[in-house]
């Protein structure tokens, strides 16, 4: 039993400015008090991808208002905050710097400890806000526009090991590129998912990257899949046929979901882990979650997927990592904290 503590989380690694507030209860469990996000996704849409400078400018504009809204939603004052956690990496350099600079200023003004934390650890920690503490060890599949990796999580406050990752495009990136081929808007995930529901996922046998017997067991590759879809569509167009866009979307989506879930379930079996967490923006994909549920049930693996709002980038997940560090008695990062755009997932906190 210990006193209740309030942890603030600030996220600015890509195109969402997030401020989350989490309470560590007497019994050590976490309570989500606020999760405010300002997104610049619409400003990037016409460019077909995140423009770093546009994202950074949006973070600067959104930081103070988002903090204001989060404090209001939680009904807490800044002086009530016990400590502050901020995404220090990985992410876009200029974007990270806005959140970290703000977090340092808040920490200095309040005289509170600052924790510079890993964005990817945040995606795993997000699930603890919905489904409670994670068993140790567990496996996490992180799939978003910037990342696709399989993580062995032994301790959210310290021990996360990457056992596999994409060797080229992230899964979300493949969605965006295929969306462009099919003349669908950016970001590509939601429109492809919607269109795929009207198509046949078995119509076209798109390649499953890195699934040969000699390939890396837990790594992913989506670049070849994206090219295969483009080739298929272009061949169709050249021969004057109408492109069966729903079947293309469904078959592409099937290939992505198949590889991701097959490798995650295989890793869980190989490592003797009975819990799989799927998080990141792509976790909201309906086929991925349905296939994961089916395959996990068959393999006797407990599947945990946070609600979509917690899967995409937000400040609450960063507050959750901070809460785990505070609860574990970790040393704060100090106000000389630097950002690290390439921060490896094994570094949960920059000390």
């Amino acid at each position: 039993m210990s006193r209740e503590r309030i942890v603030l989380g600030i996220e600015s690694s890509c195109d969402e400015t997030g401020v989350g507030i989490v309470r560590i209860r007497h019994d050590g469990t976490l309570e989500l008090l606020a999760d405010e996000v300002a997104s610049s996704v619409e400003e990037h849409a016409r460019f077909g991808g995140v423009v770093p400078e546009v994202a950074s400018r949006a973070h600067l504009e959104a930081m103070l208002p988002t903090m204001h809204r989060a404090l209001g939603a939680a009904g807490v004052a800044l002086k009530d905050v016990h400590s502050i956690a901020v995404t220090a990496g990985p992410g876009l350099a200029g974007a990270l710097l806005v959140g970290v600079s703000a977090a340092k200023a808040y920490a200095a003004a309040l005289g509170k400890p600052l924790y510079g934390v890993n964005h990817l650890a945040g995606h795993v920690a997000a699930d603890t806000l919905e489904h409670g503490p994670l068993p140790s060890p567990c496996l996490a599949l992180l799939v978003s526009g910037g990342h696709s990796s399989l993580l062995l999580v032994e301790d959210l406050a310290g021990k996360i090991t990457e056992i596999g990752a994409t060797v080229d495009d992230a899964a979300g990136e493949a969605y965006d590129k295929v969306a462009r081929v099919l003349d669908l808007p950016y970001p590509g995930g939601p429109p492809i998912d919607k269109l795929a529901k009207q198509g046949n996922g078995c119509a076209i046998a798109f390649p499953r990257g890195l699934t040969g017997s000699r390939d890396a067991k837990y790594d992913f590759s989506f670049s070849g899949l994206k090219t295969a879809v483009a080739r298929w569509v272009e061949r169709c167009e050249r021969s004057g046929e109408q492109v069966p866009v729903a079947d293309v979307a469904a078959s592409f989506q099937e290939a992505v979901a198949d590889v991701l879930t097959a490798k995650a379930v295989r890793a869980a079996k190989d490592l003797g882990v009975d819990t799989l967490v799927i998080s990141g923006g792509v976790a909201a994909n309906s086929r991925l979650s349905a296939l994961a549920a089916q395959r996990c049930e068959a393999a006797g693996i407990h599947l945990r997927v946070p609600r979509p709002r917690l899967c995409t980038d937000n400040g609450a997940m960063i507050a959750a990592v901070g809460a785990h560090l505070v609860a574990a008695g970790a040393e704060p990062s100090g106000l000389e904290l630097a950002t690290d755009p390439g921060l490896p997932v094994s570094t949960v906190q920059i000390v």
Partner: protein, 234 residues
């Protein structure tokens, strides 16, 4: 926020619009020039994010005061290279929000012009990278008469006869001294006292601060895709 003007104001000044990471604590009185109580300046264009808050705290430690003793904050609003510039702006804004103190943005060249204090027409030019400068012109009374703008030094040089300037200050003026052909005033980066002086009237009047918006002067580099990239030959 302060409603009644104070006789003496303790001001935190920061600027990250040049390669200098600048922080200082300045005392401002109605009847005299600003007095710098402590300052920390490190010239390192890649260290704004790391050093700014440590510099702020070092200044306060030197004079034995807490951040809460600060009455107001002044922040250079550029123009300057974007990534560094944002560090100062968001730091000032978050400090103001957490401490409930007003934050006054001032154009960075205004502070340099005050520091230069030539009594004649002055050009202030800072390094905008990409072989361009950010510039502004000031009259003999120190009022900004033109700018800030971003431009190539050669194009600026053509305009100089119309600007009424007799000398130049700032790192950009130094870098392109040959092109500009103006005598140099040895002021490269804004000082905390110059920043505070640039906002002195508002500070002493406890005026409502303007929006905390950086002077970018350039649009983000981004090109809209035209049609989709083909992977096979048509």
């Amino acid at each position: 926020m302060m409603a009644v003007p104070l006789t003496t104001v303790l001001v935190l000044a920061i600027d990250t619009a040049t390669p200098a990471v600048t922080a200082g604590v300045v005392q401002l009185d109605p009847d005299s020039a600003p007095v710098t109580l402590a300052q920390r300046v490190t010239v390192d264009a890649k260290a704004h994010g790391e050093l700014l808050i440590p510099h702020v705290l070092a200044c306060l430690a030197e004079i034995g005061r807490e951040l809460s003793a600060v009455d107001a904050i002044v922040c250079g609003s550029g123009p300057g290279p974007f990534t560094g510039l944002r560090v100062g702006m968001v730091t000032a804004g978050a400090l103001g929000q957490a401490l409930d103190r007003p934050v006054y943005p001032v154009p960075t060249p205004d502070a340099l012009a005050i520091d230069a204090n030539t009594g004649h027409g002055l050009l202030v030019a800072t390094d905008a990278r990409r072989r361009e400068v950010y510039w502004a012109a000031y009259d003999a009374a120190g009022r900004r008469s033109n700018g800030p703008h971003v431009e190539r030094p050669a194009e600026l040089a053509e305009k100089l006869p119309t600007l009424g300037v007799a000398a130049a200050a700032g790192e950009g003026a130094e870098l392109y001294a040959e092109v500009l052909g103006l005598p140099l005033v040895p002021v490269k980066y804004p000082s905390p006292a110059g920043l505070v002086a640039a906002a002195a009237v508002e500070l002493l009047a406890s005026a409502r601060p303007g929006p905390l918006t950086p002077l970018y002067l350039r649009r983000p580099d981004a090109i809209e895709p035209v049609g989709r990239k083909r992977v096979t030959r048509p």
